[in-house]
Symmetry: C2
DNA sequence: TTCAAAAATGCAATCGGTTGCAAAATCGAA
DNA sequence: TTCGATTTTGCAACCGATTGCATTTTTGAA
């Protein structure tokens, strides 16, 4: 009943040296093809499985990539992770995934764990409140590749994979303006984070371009949760004058807001047009269907992990690919049309 | 610049043996308190981090738990995983997550990877088409704990964490019946899988209880996707006589179906009542709000991983907890009320 | 047949902790 | 002060694969 087979067992039975067995199993060119066949057959027969710890210990590599995300269970993040896992799996890498739950403190703890787990590389999308780069320094010092995606740390001088948030914000806003809307409320997340700051920039750019004055009171910084969507709706109807459009930086929040507004007898999009963000499946099943920005989440995951793996394999210098910006796209549906 | 510190470095500087250092760092009782303090201080000073491979190699443990799920990016699964990650993280375990993408073939490959990665334990929710236990045998043989959750392999004789799918199916169906509905269409997934087979059983039980004849044509086996929701709606309106209720085993599919039905001028819930499954956030933002079964996904993740960890720590015998059934709950909202 | 070049294989050290057992140091009672 | 009991510490052998270098075997041209 199952004591492990090692290369020594194979070597012993075949009367050859463990070194040859090791090389054969790794398809080393200096080993005779017949010998390789023999060894592989015997390994198969004995049910050999390589001991990764011995191998890692010797090679000082883990074949494991760490991923830290704010949360696992959002449509965007789980889709990004799905993309990452698919490629990593195909390329023979393992993924260790952990979530910061939007807390810098937990992010720091996770970073330490990743570090002492000796991941070969680390992919990070930072928490809402992360404002320090300190906890990533050990990776820099040991030259362990570090790539940010989606929510990045801009002053970090690390490679980053992002979408064109400014353009996305611009597209969303100018679409609303073209529909004849002028008082556009922008509901967004923590403006410390690039994703929200940039969307705001795009929003401002569009206003400027169409000579609409920017009003700071029209930008609401929230946590973009479902509950927030409800509260926003209630707060909107209590305003002296209703806005005629909303640009909300998350579909789920937007949808929750729309639902509540409808309950409060506001007609969407007639009274208030809405544009969301992410192209969450929910955007297609709500009435009216939500105009939104398509977020290429799967592609982002794939590209991020590919960059990492290419770098680890020495195929690609990370600095050369220092900032990859993916294209997002406005999906025009009913909610944004007057 | 960064060559690794080992216990030998610490031992050298302190003029003591590496064995003592190792024991001190692991808080071994035989080591003098003062010595421990000395060693810990020095370790801190030098920026020592333990080499897990050396440790794993010697201890034959990895502190890593493998998880295989059909897909990462569904509401239920990402929530289950979020629960697992949280606990694992707190307990100092790493999670290696991979997805089978509903293919037994990929599931087998992932199982092999997990096996050769030498995970300490494996948590699995099987793919749509998995019909063999073969690929899990290596785990059984080596006595590596294996726990199934949600989608389980019933003849496997392995511990399993599930919800009471039969009761859930019963609750959903009898609720519809109590609303005066009699021709209840059941849209479900692959009936090979316990989750769908059991919900069907519950559906049948409810019919029987209320003396409604069971009609096999009223059970549609699908992939429960968004597209399927649309198709189902179209197929329904083309029926000679409309059903007066739907019990759909996934909220996302249900919501997509409702949306399409509404476009086809069917009134929900007046013409057709609908009950979904999962209590996906989307169920609260659609109009009408979806009556559904709350799925305790986070709890399931937490309990599954806790069982595993307890077992690994020797606190709990797995067989003793051989089948944990979590309670699900009918969430009555608008769509199921006539 | 001979011998240098090329191909294939083996030796032995190494990666960094862990742990059974032996040895040393300390303690305490007589 | 002495000596057995108790605490602490050290020795050295692992865990299993990898790899630089040396050695052996094979190949093929002279």
């Amino acid at each position: 009943m199952g004591k492990e087979i090692t290369i020594y067992d194979i070597a012993g039975q075949l009367q050859i040296s463990p070194a040859t067995v090791s090389r054969a199993l790794n398809d080393h060119p200096a080993i005779n093809v017949k010998t390789k066949a023999l060894i592989n057959a015997k390994a198969e027969e004995l049910g050999y499985r390589s001991n990764k710890f011995a191998s890692n210990l010797r090679k000082q590599k883990t074949n494991t990539i760490g991923v830290i995300v704010p949360r696992l269970n959002s449509y965007i993040m789980s889709t990004v992770l799905a993309g990452m896992e698919k490629i990593a799996n195909e390329e023979g890498f393992n993924l260790i995934i952990s979530q910061s739950l939007e807390s810098q403190k937990k992010e720091i703890a996770n970073t330490k764990t990743m570090f002492s787990s000796r991941v070969d590389g680390l992919l990070v999308s930072v928490a809402f409140d992360t404002d320090s780069f300190e906890h990533f320094q050990p990776f820099i010092k040991r030259k362990i590749p570090l790539i940010f995606f989606d929510r990045i740390l801009e002053n970090s001088n690390c490679p980053a994979i992002v979408i064109d948030n400014i353009k996305a914000g611009y597209d969303a806003t100018s679409h609303l303006i073209k529909q004849g809307r002028h008082t556009i409320l922008h509901i967004t997340g923590n403006l410390k984070r690039n994703v929200y700051a940039d969307r705001l920039k795009g929003y401002q750019q569009a206003l400027t371009e169409y000579n609409i004055p920017y009003n700071q009171d029209f930008v609401w910084e929230t946590d973009l949760s479902l509950e927030t969507g409800k509260e926003v709706a209630q707060r909107i109807v209590s305003l002296k004058t209703l806005p005629d459009a909303l640009f909300i930086a998350s579909d789920l929040c937007a949808v929750s807001c729309i639902t509540t507004l409808k309950e409060l007898n506001i007609n969407i999009p007639k009274d208030i047009s809405v544009v969301g963000f992410n192209n969450d499946p929910v955007s297609q099943v709500i009435a009216p269907k939500l105009t939104t920005i398509h977020y290429p989440a799967k592609e982002m995951g794939e590209i991020a992990i590919k960059s990492m793996i290419n770098h680890l394999k020495g195929n690609l210098d990370l600095d050369a690919a220092s900032a990859i910006t993916l294209h997002s796209e406005l999906m025009i549906r009913e909610s944004g049309i007057s």
